[in-house]
């Protein structure tokens, strides 16, 4: 059975590792790239593995489990856009092997509907704005999502700084 794990994904992520690439001193030296530290990474991997094993009909209407490739892509997206202090996302399965990654904080909301690898609809809304949110179709470039997350976290921290 396919399973997401730190081992299987090592080397496949495009995210820059933080100070974990070791200098190559000779031909026998090993170059090690390890996963980014994140308190919730293991929980996310467990959740994605669980969603890939959902029974057919989990939603009451015949939906199947989340597609493995879609789950794998979702993990790579998270590794690319999240920093170590990004809060854990909620991950919700869809009716067609798709899934949605969501953050809902006091300051706003982000939803990434991952229909398939490289086929993502992103939506971002901040609380208190009259606009109905920003939307983006995403394939390989998730810079916009990283900005959304940064904006959400900055506005979450702002009241704390002001109160300090």
């Amino acid at each position: 059975m396919n399973r997401l794990s730190g081992i299987s994904l090592t080397g496949t992520t495009s995210a820059p590792a933080q100070g974990v690439v070791q200098a190559l001193r000779n031909r026998d030296a090993r170059v090690l790239i390890t996963d980014r530290p994140s308190v919730w990474r293991a929980d996310v991997v467990d959740r994605l593995n669980y969603l890939c094993c959902l029974p057919v009909g989990w939603n009451g209407y015949g939906a199947g489990p989340v597609n493995f490739n879609t789950a794998n892509f979702a993990l790579r997206v998270l590794e690319s856009v999240c920093s170590s202090d990004t809060p854990a996302p909620s991950i919700v399965p869809g009716p067609s092997g798709d899934l949605q990654i969501e953050w809902h904080l006091e300051t706003g909301d982000i939803e990434l509907h991952i229909r398939a690898p490289n086929d993502v609809h992103g939506w971002f809304e901040t609380v208190g704005t009259e606009q109905s949110g920003q939307e983006a179709q995403l394939t390989i470039d998730f810079t916009e999502v990283a900005h959304w997350i940064k904006k959400l976290l900055e506005s979450t921290r702002a009241p704390i700084k002001a109160a300090a």
Binding site: V92, P95, V127
Partner: protein, 152 residues
């Protein structure tokens, strides 16, 4: 009275349609799985239903699956028991007329294991999904899960 047969395509699959036997006053029920719950620090209790609970299938002619309450009742069944058996966590309802006003089509798509199965067809944009979430009413409530209409 049982619903009349829905239109089929060449492969025998139900095609998207607005069924004339489903009146605007009829309630359509959407089952909610516990997998649909997300954390949201803005809501009471911190847990609510995801917009993903109101997503159409991308398979063939499928839309968003629902149960047709009037059809269940006509068959002499208890709708709350029907949509909760064997394991389903909760459910919400909409009036068919509300969905039609949002330019969705509400049709009949009986399945081998659910003779009261319907579909809602249309464009499930994020704005519409949020409107569905905000308009949904509990049919079988799940304790500790926030629903905007219940809080209003």
């Amino acid at each position: 009275m049982p619903l009349s047969k829905p239109p089929l395509d060449d492969t025998g699959e139900v095609t998207p349609h607005d069924h004339h036997d489903i009146s605007n006053e009829d309630r359509v029920i959407r089952r909610i799985s516990e997998e649909h719950f997300v954390l949201d620090t803005k809501v009471s209790g911190g847990k609510r239903i995801s917009t993903m609970a109101f997503q159409a299938s991308s398979d063939g002619n499928r839309g968003m699956s629902v149960d047709l309450e009037a059809s269940i009742i006509d068959a002499g069944l208890d709708a709350k028991i029907f949509v909760t058996t064997p394991k389903f966590f909760g459910s919400v309802w909409f009036l068919a007329g509300f969905l039609r006003a949002e330019t969705f089509m509400v049709g009949y798509d009986p399945l081998p294991d659910n003779a009261h199965h319907g579909e809602v067809w249309g464009i499930f944009s994020k704005g519409r999904q949020k409107k569905l979430l905000n308009s949904a009413q509990w049919f079988v409530e799940v304790d500790g899960v926030f629903l905007p209409s219940a809080a209003a």
